[in-house]
Symmetry: C2
Subunit: 341 residues, 2 copies
Amino acid sequence: MSDGVSMTLEEVYATAFEVLCVQGCSEPQAEAIAETITAAERDRCASHGLFRIPFYVRAIRGGIVRPRAVPTFTDLAPGVLKIDGGLGFAPLALKLGAEPIAERARSQGIAALALTNVCHIAALWPEVERLAEWGLVAFAFTGASSFVAPAGGTRPLYGTNPMAFGWPRAGHPPMVFDQASSASARGEIQLHLRDGKPIPEGWAIGPDGTPTTDAAMALEGAQLPFGGHKGAAIALMVELLAGALIGSVFSFEAQALDTNKSGVPPGGEFMIVIDPSRCIADEDAGNQLQHAEALFERILAQEGTRLPSQRRFAVRAETLQNGISIPASLAGEIDALRTVS
Amino acid sequence: MSDGVSMTLEEVYATAFEVLCVQGCSEPQAEAIAETITAAERDRCASHGLFRIPFYVRAIRGGIVRPRAVPTFTDLAPGVLKIDGGLGFAPLALKLGAEPIAERARSQGIAALALTNVCHIAALWPEVERLAEWGLVAFAFTGASSFVAPAGGTRPLYGTNPMAFGWPRAGHPPMVFDQASSASARGEIQLHLRDGKPIPEGWAIGPDGTPTTDAAMALEGAQLPFGGHKGAAIALMVELLAGALIGSVFSFEAQALDTNKSGVPPGGEFMIVIDPSRCIADEDAGNQLQHAEALFERILAQEGTRLPSQRRFAVRAETLQNGISIPASLAGEIDALRTVS
């Protein structure tokens, strides 16, 4: 990229950490966010990488986020752990909660994490990947602002409501997917807008309720669920799990709480974590991951297939070696945030 | 329907129960299956109603099913209950497991049910609806024979792999969805074949790997996941949960076990059950279901929308009053099964 700025992953982390601290985050909050941003750049998930820094800063300046919040833990049941994020950003609460919820899954067989009062604009795959690397099966669900029309409707109601799932693999990085229940991630539409590109058909309808390929119209109108009413059902499920179930807000309520329109409303995340070794007789516990490999082999034996996380792990191997590149305009925008004016 | 045979729901149950007993099921197995079939007819889910009787009978006659099996229970962990179905049909194991898994969810907050060694050709919504009626949130996942191509592939690998989800409602029947991760249920293609109708585009590819609207070609080729690679990711997740995780078989392995091609291979089902009142501070436990109603109201306020289970509950009210009607050809086929020749 001729107008790109090359960076090592260490520089990505250092930049994110510095800017976030300068802009008011506590060191633990800044560390956890910088780790998440670095993981995204490492895996070339640009929409959750340094591109997000200005969003975090806007949230700190204008939103209701508390950038020095310390998450607090409550035992709700033998299998349910609650973390109140204290209106901080999500990554710190998820980082601190990972060991306790893993421990709970190991002792109970299955456990749930109810994370409330966090401002969440990161991807979900880092938390399920972390748990899957520890040998656990993990799900994560979160809402967002109202962006997506319900099945049959024309106005925004659901968030893009991603659902992530991770499966541990023996001798390979985990199998992880993290997919919006909308046809596209909102960040993807934002990237199309930034780059002046039309969006594919089926992603959105405009404010008038008719299909559009104009990124700006899409952001003003409503995104569409993936796969019609079935994707919409997933979106509804995510609303209920990350909203009402854990005493958090629905996407449409989160939006209303974001009084300064920072784009980073408070909300919740729900996780389910399972220890595979507790889901089978002890003598068979070693076989499950090996058995799963037989399925992965069958998938990959068909031409044109790949596993959900395969592309990310391939680019990871490359960026760990060669670093990454970001648009010069973004680098300039971030540089301007290294000081508080 | 001029060539239809009218039946009350009591007659549906009695017919199913009688035929299944005559064909070799134990009374408990026959009762549980007849309840499931009656629930399907009651809700006009024809593809899981009396239409399935010949499948059950074929399985008894030619498959590896044990129609007098007694399910056995094992405690795997505080939050994980295993039921070995003993190669019986799934409905009895699910019926007997409902109270114990509900109890586990209430005491632990979240619990999992690992159901193995069952022959499963019923819908999943009855088991999640039952738990949701008891105030619990429930998920169910199961595989099937290899019918669906993986993302990017052209040959069958996954089952139609339904995933069901139930949410309890205050003052209303539960919100329940039960959706194949294929673009259509296999039963729907079978019904199109029976009725001589073409299937919609996007449901399947033929044995040559190209798109088809011919129901027979579709059944010989591969079904497609709903919503492209995202639906395929759900299908993969279901394979892992209902297969490797609980020490059961993948869809492609189940198919291979069905040596007599009865169409009813043995397999597993995985359920997750959550007690909402344990996912929130005690003083707020009453508010969750009320809160969810605010979301449902917003959905229904948009013209053209409905909740996933709404149509089923509407027809239920009608069939409970007026009974149902089945094609005369099916009635004849079932009548012929009332005796063993």
